[in-house]
């Protein structure tokens, strides 16, 4: 397909893509089986848990439990139940939430959108700062500016979000009154959470960008461009950036996958209706269908994003990834 470009053996690219596709399907099936098992791993019997979440009465009517067990097919063999459940999942039916009695799938879909907006704002903010800062640090490698950038990056990584968020709220919402302290109702409510969330990726992006640009600076094509009379800045912008940015994009994909559910603390503090807060309240309320649904979505998305990044990287750098893989 694309193999001619990199002088790869015939079919190498196809084999690479096929292998990734197989791994994708296998891992997704494994993950959904694990998610399916969740209610069985705890001490609670699912039928009992459902009835208990609906009825406050502690003494359970065993006839009602038995009836529900038969109605839900819980008396069938486990594998049989798994495939029935998987069939429903493929139709987008993740069941009803124990607490809100609403379809899990709708709630997750809405929450994913919110989390994606938050994550992408934070990550693009981080990227916008990290690219120039990382490049400058690479140019000044080993000098004072470089040292300061590295130190600040390590400082950022050491700040807990659950400390920074309340402090920023105290400053910008309570004292100055410039921004809302919590909620999710437009651009203004996005600023503080995105600022808190961007620090850690900012630190990583700038360090990855720095390391990658140091390699680029020593590359022959930069020397060639400069010997043709281009200034350092011109050579970097016209030839260096395109190569230097690639490792950062890989890290970007990893962070995106991680932040879709991983911004629990920020979402809880700022009362943002995203995936993190959804999972948190599902844990607090022991809401099993919600947990199953979130596991499938979060892990599934992480795997898909990772595979996409991997394949994209393989297509952009066929000699590195694909030929190494075909070994």
């Amino acid at each position: 397909m694309l193999a001619w470009r990199a002088n790869l053996p015939a079919g190498a690219m196809e084999r690479f893509l096929l292998k990734r596709a197989i791994v994708l399907v296998v891992t997704l099936t494994l993950v959904s089986f694990l998610a399916f098992l969740v209610p069985w791993l705890g001490d609670a019997d699912p039928a009992r848990a459902i009835i208990r979440s609906r009825v406050a009465d502690l003494a359970l009517d065993s006839a009602a439990v038995e009836a529900l067990r038969i109605r839900l097919g819980l008396d069938q063999p486990l594998l049989h139940q798994f495939f029935a459940w998987l069939g429903r999942v493929f139709q987008g039916d993740l069941g009803l939430s124990f607490t809100s009695r609403l379809p899990v799938a709708d709630q997750i879909l809405r929450a994913i959108g919110v989390s994606a907006t938050l994550a992408l704002s934070a990550l693009f903010l981080a990227l916008a700062i990290a690219l120039p800062v990382g490049t400058l640090a690479a140019v000044h490698q080993g000098r004072r500016f470089d040292g300061i950038v590295t130190f600040i990056a390590q400082g950022f990584v050491s700040i807990p979000e659950y400390w920074l968020a309340p402090v920023l709220v105290l400053l910008f919402a309570v004292e100055l009154g410039w921004l809302p302290s919590a909620g999710w109702s437009g651009f203004e409510t996005l600023i503080l959470p995105a600022a808190v969330l961007c620090l850690r990726p900012l630190a990583y992006f700038s360090q990855v960008m720095r390391a990658s640009m140091i390699d680029v600076l020593h590359a022959n094509y930069i020397l060639a461009a400069r010997s043709r009379g281009l200034g350092l800045a011109g050579a970097l912008v016209r030839h260096g950036l395109r190569n230097g940015i690639q490792p950062v994009l890989t890290v970007f994909a990893l962070w995106l996958a991680g932040l879709l559910g991983g911004s629990v603390v920020v979402e809880v503090i700022f009362a943002i209706p995203g995936m993190g807060r959804l999972i948190y309240s599902a844990v607090i309320n022991n809401d099993m269908p919600m947990l199953q649904g979130s596991i499938i979505c979060i892990v599934g998305l992480a795997i898909i994003i990772n595979t996409a990044a991997d394949v994209l990287y393989g297509v952009l750098n066929p000699t590195v990834t694909v030929s190494g893989d075909a070994r």
Binding site: Q154, P160, P166, V264, I303
Partner: protein, 285 residues
């Protein structure tokens, strides 16, 4: 030369960031270990007449919303998170290094399978794994350690595998194989010792994140359980009182930051050292 003198000389040869981190990290550890000696008060003894008092008298940092001594709570509160983070890292490093080095040496389908597992787990936020496990088996010390180790071993496995692959192509490994050394012997005698420097750098660099994650779960009420407390739980308690007594918010936050930063600085120093020794060995400039 005695052992002590040799260690001092080894430390003095390291990068300044390592020495700075080692110094402040040691101070923090000593404070946490010697908590019963240093603090004059019981961290859970309440005295409502002293509610939200500022620093002064024998309450060095003042009192919290229940009149408990803040300095004592700070010292005892560090113990939980630091122990969980350190124990988790110890388990992650041991498991990850062994699995990674072993996969790198044997290769084949097992290696391929394990590395795909690593690919999936490595991008997975630790806090989510912890939340799921808490939902299934309930909160507690064991749950935290298990949850953080479950994903924590992956970066070490990837690093150790890379080093093992690199070393496997060397002549002295071929020589050892010809001499009839077993696979386990080569792993323990050649691969692991070579991986020690970069692995220990990564261990220190990962500590801060673990510490913050443990604090985050405690902040959400799913980590440390009352009557025990830690810095994250203290921050959660202090939130409503931030305006009246800002120190309640600043003290635990700064404690987490100083601890995380010291260990990170040590990690960075070790990483510089690992790079330097690799360049010396491979003869690159």
């Amino acid at each position: 030369m005695t052992m002590a003198a040799r260690s001092v000389r080894w430390v003095m040869r390291q990068h300044w960031t390592f020495i700075a981190g080692l110094f402040s990290g040691t101070v923090v550890v000593l404070l946490l270990v010697a908590a019963p000696v240093i603090s004059l008060h019981d961290p859970i003894a309440q005295d409502l007449s002293m509610r939200l008092q500022g620093p002064g008298g024998d309450h060095w940092l003042g009192n919290d919303q229940l009149g408990r001594d803040l300095w004592a709570r700070l010292l005892y509160g560090g113990r939980f998170s630091v122990v969980v983070a350190a124990l988790t890292l110890f388990l992650s490093v041991t498991i990850g290094t062994l699995i990674g080095a072993w996969c790198g040496r044997i290769g084949g389908a097992v290696d391929e399978f394990v590395m795909r597992v690593v690919d999936v787990l490595i991008s997975f936020p630790e806090i989510i794994v912890a939340l799921f496990l808490i939902a299934i088996i309930g909160p507690g010390f064991g749950t935290l350690v298990l949850a953080l180790t479950l994903v924590g071993w992956t970066p070490f496995a990837r690093l150790a595998r890379g080093i093992a692959l690199d070393i496997s192509s060397r002549d002295y490994i071929a020589a050892a194989e010809v001499l009839g050394c077993t696979r386990t012997f080569i792993l323990l005698r050649h691969v692991i010792p070579n991986a020690l420097r970069p692995i220990s750098a990564m261990t220190f660099l990962r500590f801060g994140h673990k510490l913050i994650t443990v604090g985050a779960l405690s902040y959400l009420g799913l980590g440390v359980q009352p009557p025990d407390s830690d810095w994250g739980a203290m921050l959660a308690d202090a939130r409503q009182f931030a305006v009246r007594q800002p120190l309640l918010v600043f003290a635990p936050g700064i404690a987490i930051m100083v601890t995380a930063l010291s260990v990170t600085l040590m990690g960075q120093g070790l990483e510089i050292d690992a790079d330097r020794s690799r360049r010396l060995r491979t003869g690159q400039s």
